[in-house]
Assembly symmetry: C2
Homo-oligomer: 450 residues x 2
């Protein structure tokens, strides 16, 4: 088969080209320069803002200037949510303002100040266990502290409270929901992120407090006096309106099988609070640089490389879902995909999600990454990070490149997600890995589906 | 002499008591608990705010409950400056909001939006060298990045721009002054701090940008297009009014020479942005704990220990100056003093400022600190940190205990100065050192003046 052919080393040209592209990427600043350009010339790219529209223009122009053969946008509609002014305070027994951020989709307080006593819970499960009606006219406070782990699995244990805490609290009668930020830092930044109201449950305001402010509130609660908290915020004015979003797509056209596409993904949108340098400026930088390097090869790869900068990832993978819908009839031609949407650390693992028959080829490719400190996982169930998982769930084979995520949640979804957080050395290595993968997948002839 | 007597080991009781008090402090949470109480029950204590008044009550009550024999306040008046709302933006070529803070004493923009082109300077000297009139209708931007050093001397090299940059810019015609924050971190917090307008120079708004935002502005300036910046802020509404401030003073009365006072100092006020846990909650915690430990000794020290919590240090040592004025007739009875107002690191050095004749005794005392990692400096010119330098300049001998200040300027004068930044282990050691010093100075009979 083709697969064995490649692993057997018969595709010597591809192998050599992979080395060439590795040397190029690892000595180049291109991906960093792209992130610098995006964060400087556009900045935060929250869905529905003028900067988000500017980011689409920026991306189209950047892809063209980088040598992509075809560049286009695919538009759709997404629900618009915009953050309003927020004032959050502990009002008794010791008044202090706190640093907080509304969670995505949170309603506001309609010009009123919501004030109520705080009841603390260790975690989401404890909140769910509260007796019915026990939170009438109370504000529920989940104190759970996210754990730090290299693979970021502390996020999964913490994020449930963010996604569904407000509705769970409302079911018990609560009038507001506050939580310790899903973050591993001790900086006085709150971490925002999406939350989802459940149907037929009252929508109550939902906030994340910075870790130091959650500490402060917990300290007050130790003093055996009622602690009251007030929230005034005017989010949600634009709720129920929609906004036009756009995936930006660029291709380096394959020389032999142009209809077969290898996808690299990242999301172009960001939260509004930082400049989205890490989340997901790094993904934009890596994937565009990989496309550029392939476009500059004298001998074009056989398959097409398609770089997809997804829209509206942060508010619920809207762009990815739209992509799958629009491209369902050509999904069989989606050979394999990988996304970068997980921080600034160095990749230590390649985790495949491919046919059993192609695993040997993937192992042969992984050998080329070994000098960069990458090993191959024993598992074979990867669906792709973030947006790419939507394509993975629609049948596209995938690879996850897993980086050291130890400090990612120090600045994730905060004002602190800025260019200086990009680790330049790790970025060069990671850019090389994605570029090598792009060439392997487009030019090896390996069938990752069968 | 008495001095030699002590160093010769004849004051064996004192020596033993010093060991007792060391063991007590190093195994106790008292200083931490005091900081927790101050930051939780009062929080930020900016001069002129209700919380500052609350802090005075808090301090009086805390001293009484800790066993001080006499507790009183000394009131005076200080000029009132209060921060207003601030909106700071880069408006062209790529509009982005930035994180910035007004410098202390800065005027506002009188309800208008000030907008002008930015001209960058590497440092204060470069700004001073600008040709006369060259900054007409411009905003001057000093980009200097503070250096990180253990002894914090990077601060001295950076802070000149903060203190006098606005007036120097105004002399050249500038309408606004912005600077990279005096700070060593890469967090998106601006560092505030006092600035002083020069007489007969136009007062222009003065801001510090967070380090990531200063990076952003510098990136924009590399693009060879005019960069414009806008400032709208309503500080200074209360300018030229005064406010009542109060030093809070507590004594553990000496058993033999009550009129001879050893002073320990810290400042009670803080900037408004953090909770002032480190600056200078730690000083409050250490000095009150030391007083408590002395008050609990069965045999009271011979001299009086006076703990002074100074008012309005942040806006210009107002409380310290008032103290010196009010106590000038008894300054000769001020035996020696030490302040804590330099961060959360472990003390590595004792730097004296005492009579030549008492140096041998100080060396003998320093030997007791050697197991705690403290060495004695070769110099003998210490005046005391911060407030205490006002007493030092009025003739009071002093000791500076120098801590590792490597990371102090990561959170100094930012929103990020919160309780979690207190290093509990270093705090215990430092509390022990101050307590040991307090006992040595009150009970050894050493004459530090002659
Ligand atoms: Zn992301
Ligand atoms: Zn995200
Ligand atoms: Zn201070
Ligand atoms: Zn200070």
């Amino acid at each position: 088969t083709t697969a064995v052919t490649w692993a057997d080393g018969l595709a010597g040209d591809t192998r050599q080209q992979i080395q060439v592209i590795k040397d190029k990427a690892i000595n180049d600043d291109l991906s960093y320069d792209i992130i610098e350009s995006l964060t400087t010339e556009v900045g935060p790219r929250m869905v529905g803002t003028p900067a988000e529209k500017a980011s689409v223009k920026w991306a189209v122009n950047k892809m063209k200037s980088l040598g992509f053969d075809k560049v286009w946008t695919e538009e759709s509609e997404a629900t618009l949510w915009q953050r309003g002014e927020l004032d959050a305070q502990i009002t008794a027994p010791y008044p202090q303002h706190v640093k907080a951020l509304a969670l995505g989709n949170s309603v506001g307080t309609n010009g009123e100040t919501l004030s109520a006593e705080v009841v603390a819970f260790d975690n989401l499960d404890a909140l769910k266990d509260a007796p019915a009606g026990s939170l009438e006219n109370k504000i529920a406070f989940v104190t759970y502290q996210m754990e730090r782990h290299r693979d970021g699995h502390g996020y999964g244990k913490a994020v449930g409270a963010r996604v569904s805490g407000a509705s769970e609290a409302a079911k018990k009668g609560a009038v507001g929901f506050i939580m310790r930020s899903v973050g591993t830092d001790t900086n006085r930044f709150a971490h925002t992120g999406v939350q989802m109201y459940q149907d037929d449950v009252k929508k109550i305001p939902a906030l994340a407090l910075s870790n130091p402010d959650a500490d402060l509130l917990e300290s007050m609660l130790t003093r055996d006096e009622p602690v009251t908290f007030s929230i005034k915020m005017d989010n949600g004015k634009t709720k129920s309106k929609t906004t036009t979003i756009a995936n930006v797509i660029g291709e380096v056209t394959g020389s032999k099988h142009p209809e077969q596409v290898v996808t690299l993904g990242a999301h172009l949108d960001s939260w509004d609070v930082g400049t989205g340098a890490v989340d997901d400026g790094i993904g934009v930088g890596i994937t565009l640089a990989a496309g550029h390097y392939l476009s500059q090869l004298e001998a074009r790869p056989e398959r097409t490389l398609r770089v997809i900068l997804f829209a509206a990832e942060e508010i619920g993978l809207h762009g990815a879902k739209d992509y799958v819908e629009k491209h369902k009839n050509e999904m069989d031609n989606h050979v394999i995909g990988a996304e970068w949407d997980f921080g600034n650390g160095k990749i230590y693992e390649l985790a495949p999600g491919v046919s059993e028959q192609s695993l040997e080829d993937m192992r042969a490719f992984a050998q080329l990454l070994a000098p960069l400190g990458v090993t191959m996982a024993d598992t074979n169930n990867a669906k792709g990070q973030s947006d790419m998982s939507a394509l993975g769930n629609a049948g596209q084979p995938a690879v996850n490149f897993n980086p050291d995520g130890s400090d990612y949640f120090d600045f994730h979804h905060t004002e602190n997600d800025t260019l200086d957080k990009v680790d330049k050395a790790a970025l060069k290595t990671n850019t090389a890995i994605y570029s090598m993968f792009a060439l392997f997948a487009t030019d090896s002839g390996v069938n990752f589906r069968n």
